[in-house]
Every structure is written in structure tokens, then in C-alpha cells.
């Protein structure tokens, strides 16, 4: 049987069982499968926002730590191909100079320029990836999360060309053999589709913060509603010098970096 079909049957099978058990007992990863469907009742614990956003405190992020990446990639079955040609990453650790090239100058201390900056999809408020997608496989939810439907994506990679942040990855080959331990709570992808960070919609739907935010031991990541004046993210940027990646492109990134 074709593997994506097998997965589908597996999912529907669990969904049928799910219909008979209380929501609270459902595996976290399944919640989005019903979102928006007729008769769908959201989990009472689901976190809601007018616009989700993230603040990354560069002063707290440590150069020797990759806990957020490990947590994210384990939770979402992100393959580790082990070579740069095929590489897919939902979060990556880069240097300050690469993420903020406009801030680099000759007299910037090398330590600063090489300092760690983690990068993920910015869930742009004006996302070019959504604009160019010919099938609607990439779309934006009312709460601002830019999401993907891996069963609709045709793998044209127009979205990768359109994203100015390198936030998207293509499955150039079957990713499953390269997933260290498959987490049944989240679907794996097939070869030929694009994928990227989803701000952990599957965790938000059951009242949990994103996996990276929960995993960071130094509290460098803050997540919340950018439209709510007293939210954690708004407090995290209040009075601080804030950077966003390539704001001049008009994509309106919703991931903020504080120095």
C-alpha cells in the first residue's frame, strides 16, 4: 500500500476511535485534523489569540544550547538527512551576521557577529509564500499562523522562492528513514512536499505553548498574543530595542528579537 495512504487510514482509524472518547483523552497531534470541520468542537483548553507572535531574547540565548531545535524537531518528526543539500529545519541556529546582515559593520565585535541567533518561520502578517502558492496548500489562519496542508502541496517550491527568510524546506526524498524516532502524535511527511514551522498549532489546540518555548531552559523565548496589550510578548518587547528580519520587505514578520 502506498505509504501516504496507509498514514491516512491510520489517522482516520484513530479519528473514529477518537469520536467515541472524551476530547481530553485525545492525542495532542490529532486536534487540528478536525479544526473547522462541521461538528468540530474545539478543546476547551485551546489557546486563542488575535495574532500569535514570538519574542526571542538574544541576551538570554546561549551559544552552547540547541534544546529548542531538538524539542521542535522531535515533536514534528523533522527528518535529519545529515547533508546540507537535503537539509530541512523548522528552527535553525545561525549567526547574528547571517540573520541580521544589515546590522553588520566593520567594527562589530566578532563575538557579537558570530553570536547565536535562532531562526524560524516568521508567520508573516503579509506572507509572500501564501500569495504565490498555486493550490492554497500554504495558507494563513485568522490568528496569523501560516500553515501548510501537506496533502495538498504539489511540491512546486514556488513558496521557497518567495520566502525571503529561508524558512521552508523541500523533501527531496522520503524523509521517514531519517526521522530518529517517529512521534505518532504528529503526521510525518512524504517525499515531494515542502514543510516548515507551524507555531505548534497542534499544541496550542490543547492548551500547550509551542515545543521550543517550553523547551528553552533560559526563558529566551516568549510566545503570546501580539494584539493583547498585557500579553507576555507585548511586555517582552515593551521598552526594548527590537529587531525583525528584513522588515523593509513589507512581509511584517511576527517574530521579534530583543537585544
Amino acid at each position: 500500500m502506498h505509504s501516504s495512504r496507509r498514514d491516512f487510514l491510520k489517522l482516520t482509524g484513530i479519528a473514529l476511535i477518537g469520536a467515541a472518547v472524551p476530547d481530553a483523552l485525545l492525542p495532542a497531534g490529532l486536534a487540528p485534523a478536525w479544526a473547522g470541520a462541521p461538528g468540530f468542537r474545539p478543546d476547551v483548553r485551546a489557546l486563542k489569540a488575535a495574532r500569535w507572535g514570538m519574542v526571542i531574547d538574544l541576551a538570554k540565548c546561549r551559544p552552547d544550547c540547541t534544546d529548542c531545535i531538538a524539542a521542535c524537531h522531535a515533536a514534528h518528526n523533522v527528518p535529519a538527512f545529515g547533508n546540507p543539500k537535503d537539509e530541512i529545519a523548522w528552527i535553525r541556529r545561525e549567526t547574528f551576521g547571517r540573520i541580521f546582515p544589515a546590522q553588520v559593520h566593520r567594527h562589530l565585535e566578532p563575538r557579537r557577529q558570530a553570536g547565536p541567533v535562532i531562526a524560524l518561520c516568521n508567520h508573516c502578517a503579509n506572507p509572500p509564500c501564501v500569495r504565490v502558492c498555486p493550490t492554497g496548500a500554504t495558507f494563513r489562519r485568522p490568528d496569523g499562523i501560516v500553515m501548510m496542508d501537506y496533502h495538498r502541496c504539489i511540491g512546486c517550491r514556488f513558496c521557497i522562492a518567495a520566502c525571503p527568510y529561508g524558512a521552508r524546506g523541500m523533501n527531496y526524498r522520503d524523509p521517514r528513514p531519517f526521522i530518529r524516532r517517529i512521534d505518532p502524535g504528529f503526521p510525518t511527511r512524504t517525499r515531494g512536499v515542502v514543510e516548515k514551522c507551524n507555531f505548534c498549532v497542534e499544541r496550542l489546540a490543547v492548551g500547550k505553548p509551542p515545543a521550543c518555548v517550553a523547551a528553552c531552559p533560559y526563558g529566551a523565548l516568549t510566545f503570546g498574543d501580539l494584539e493583547a496589550p498585557d500579553s507576555a510578548v507585548r511586555r517582552a518587547i515593551a521598552g526594548r530595542t527590537v529587531l525583525r528580519r528584513k522588515p523593509e520587505l513589507g512581509t511584517e514578520p511576527q517574530v521579534y528579537y530583543t537585544l
Binding site: G136, C156, A161
Partner: protein, 385 residues
């Protein structure tokens, strides 16, 4: 009329057999690609479009260039093109079929290609490209076929084709404009982010397409038993000269804007193409070959004595075709990804299977072209006899 494609001498069948072998080899490697994924190609995390999409872009130009014979013939009643209009239209048909094939083989999940129709997204330029390409294919097929069929029966084409012919003229411009918009509307890809992209595409198309048509006419005269005559080839040569000059001019405009403004995002891709960037020089010899060929061709086409000599003309057309193929079918697409959004330089080299698949699609196009030309020339022979 289709039966005409089934009659031919041993040279005709030998040529088709050769093409069939190339198509077969491409199909074999495509099956491998379906099995393994697009990782079988040289495309990577940073360079996500390669030879396939570049061929598509180049061939949209070849398809659009049919307008360069249709327009003078139908709008200006330029009789000399009467004998080759059908060749231009059928070239467009073969080119569009190749374009669509290249798009489909470039998809990660080709079996879902119809999602573009099932979930139409009018915000996406790719959606519009599909619309205009399909429309253009149908237009040229219907026009070419109808005109030919009536010619065979010794009748004037029916009145309803005339509006279709007129429609096909702006439509040809539209296919290459929309294709340019695929590139020219992306934030953060500075190499492509230029308003001159569509004019540049059209100029290079109106040089490379007619150049191919001249070469095809010369081949047909030599081996196909069809003489297009001197006059149409000379007229095409003048068109190529103007278009090539415009194309070179546009490239110089790009270079001025990039280097006088000095904005790194705009200079870096051009430096990568013509000088190499941080020691990455893979495309440099290609781009200089392209530049030298273009200038050489322009000289050959401008000097009247050389242009009128058909041996020199053939050489000039070869040079134009090769030069613009390098520029568009190699440099333009890949360089949009260099440097990457994170400032990294990943070079691209197509793999063996990728090249085999690409050649297979070209061969498929030539099978279609050969059969269509066979039909058209068979009808000509019949009516002239």
C-alpha cells in the same frame, strides 16, 4: 490529415527512431526520479529550481516568438511569411507541450498537479501561467490546423479563425509576461526583482525563437524537401537583429542599475555570473561564452553582406540560440537563488539523470514538431502538385 505523419522516407523514420531512444532514456530516469524524489537532481536546500524550470522559461520564449511571423503576415499582410506562418505556429505548439512537461516533471508530487485546478488560487502567478499557456496551446493548435485543412481543400480559412488569430498576438505577449511575473514579484530575490524582466524576456524570446525558426527552415530545405525561400529568412534575420540588440541593451540597463547604485543585493548576483562570488565561479565561463556569442551574432546580423550570406546567417542563428539558451536556460533561474536568503552561496550542477530527463523532454518536443511539420509540408506538397 494526421495520416500524413505516418508517411515518410527512411530518413524521417530514422530521425524519429533516434528521438524515441532519447525520450526512452529520459522516461527511464524519470521513473527513477519518481521513485527517489527530486533529490536525484542537483537541486538543493538553497537552489530549489534548476534545469527543468529554466528550460520551461526558455521555451515559453520560443513559444511566444511565433507571434513574430504571425503578426507581420496577418496584421501587415507581409506575404513572404505566408509559407512559414504554419511552421511558427506548430513550433509554438511543440514548445508549449515541452513547457508543460517541464513544469510537471519539476513537481515534487506530480500526481497532485490537478490541485491547481481543484483549488484555484488566482493570487498565484503560477495559476495564471497555467491559464495562459493552456489557452495559447489551444489557440495555436486550432488556428494552425484549421488554416492547413482549408488550404488542403483549396479554400480560404473560415471567418471565425481571423479573430482567433488576432487574439493569439496579445496572447503570445501574455505568456511570456506572466512567466516573467513568476520571478519579478518575489521580495528578497533581488536578481529577479526588476521591472524590466518581462521586456527582457520578450526581447530575448523574439531573438531566440526566430533564430530557431531560421535554422529549422534551413534544415527543411536541405533534408525536408521544403524551401521557404530567401525573403522570409532575411526578414527573420532583421527581426532577430533588432530583438537581440534590445535584449543586450536591457542587460546593460540591469548592469548599470546594479553597479551604479552599488546595492549589494543587486550587484552580487551579477558578480556571481560574470566574475564569480567568493571564489564560486561555476557559471562564469558559460556567461562569458554567452556574451561573446551574442556580440558576434549581432555583428553577423547587422553587416548586410554577412546577413545575406546564408552560411553566415546560419552561424549567427546558432550563436543567438546558444547565447540566449545559456542566459535564460542556465543563468537566470539558478542565480536568483545566489546568494541564499541567509547569505550563503550554494552552487548548482545538474546531475546525469537530470540532464537525461531534460534531453528526453526536448526530444519529445522534437517528435511532436517533426510530426506536425511532416503534416504541414505534406499538405503543401499536395496543394502545390
Amino acid at each position: 490529415m494526421l495520416e500524413k505523419a505516418l508517411h515518410g522516407n527512411h530518413r524521417y523514420w530514422g530521425w524519429l527512431a533516434f528521438l524515441a531512444v532519447v525520450v526512452g532514456a529520459g522516461a527511464f530516469f524519470y521513473l527513477r526520479q519518481l521513485d527517489y524524489g527530486l533529490g536525484i537532481t542537483g537541486m538543493s536546500r538553497d537552489v530549489t529550481w534548476g534545469l527543468y524550470i529554466a528550460q520551461f522559461t526558455f521555451l515559453v520564449g520560443i513559444a511566444a516568438s511565433a507571434v513574430m511571423v504571425v503578426l507581420p503576415y496577418y496584421l501587415h499582410d507581409y506575404k513572404a511569411f505566408g509559407r512559414i506562418t504554419i511552421l511558427g505556429e506548430f513550433l509554438a505548439v511543440a514548445a508549449v507541450v515541452m513547457c508543460v512537461t517541464f513544469i510537471v516533471i519539476d513537481l515534487g508530487r506530480p500526481e497532485r498537479a490537478f490541485n491547481v485546478l481543484l483549488h484555484p488560487a488566482p493570487r498565484s502567478i503560477l495559476f495564471w501561467d497555467m491559464v495562459v499557456l493552456t489557452g495559447y496551446l489551444v489557440l495555436n493548435l486550432v488556428i494552425g490546423w484549421t488554416v492547413l485543412e482549408n488550404e488542403r481543400n483549396g479554400k480560404a480559412p473560415p471567418a471565425w479563425v481571423k479573430p482567433l488569430i488576432l487574439l493569439s498576438i496579445p496572447w503570445a505577449i501574455s505568456i511570456h509576461t506572466v512567466t516573467a511575473f513568476i520571478y519579478a514579484g518575489l521580495p528578497g530575490r533581488d536578481f529577479w526583482l526588476t521591472a524590466i524582466m518581462a521586456p527582457r524576456f520578450l526581447a530575448s524570446a523574439f531573438a531566440s525563437g526566430p533564430a530557431l525558426l531560421v535554422l529549422l527552415c534551413l534544415v527543411l530545405r536541405r533534408w525536408g524537401g521544403f524551401d521557404a525561400g530567401r525573403e522570409p529568412l532575411q526578414a527573420l534575420a532583421r527581426i532577430i537583429a533588432y530583438a537581440l540588440a534590445a535584449s543586450l541593451f536591457f542587460v546593460l540597463m540591469e548592469l548599470f542599475t546594479a553597479f551604479y547604485s552599488g546595492i549589494p543585493g543587486h550587484t552580487e548576483p551579477f558578480r556571481y555570473l560574470y566574475a564569480g562570488l567568493d571564489g564560486h565561479t561555476r557559471l562564469v565561463p558559460w556567461m562569458w561564452t554567452s556574451a561573446v556569442l551574442a556580440v558576434l551574432a549581432l555583428v553577423l546580423l547587422i553587416v548586410p553582406a554577412l546577413r545575406r550570406n546564408e552560411a553566415w546567417l546560419a552561424l549567427a542563428c546558432l550563436a543567438v540560440f546558444a547565447s540566449l539558451w545559456i542566459e535564460k536556460g542556465l543563468g537566470l533561474v539558478v542565480t536568483g537563488f545566489i546568494p541564499s536568503p541567509l547569505g550563503q552561496i550554494t552552487e548548482y550542477t545538474p546531475t546525469g539523470p537530470e540532464v537525461a530527463i531534460t534531453l528526453g523532454v526536448w526530444a519529445l518536443g522534437f517528435v511532436i514538431l517533426t510530426a506536425l511539420y511532416r503534416i504541414a509540408l505534406g499538405v503543401r506538397k499536395e496543394t502545390e502538385a
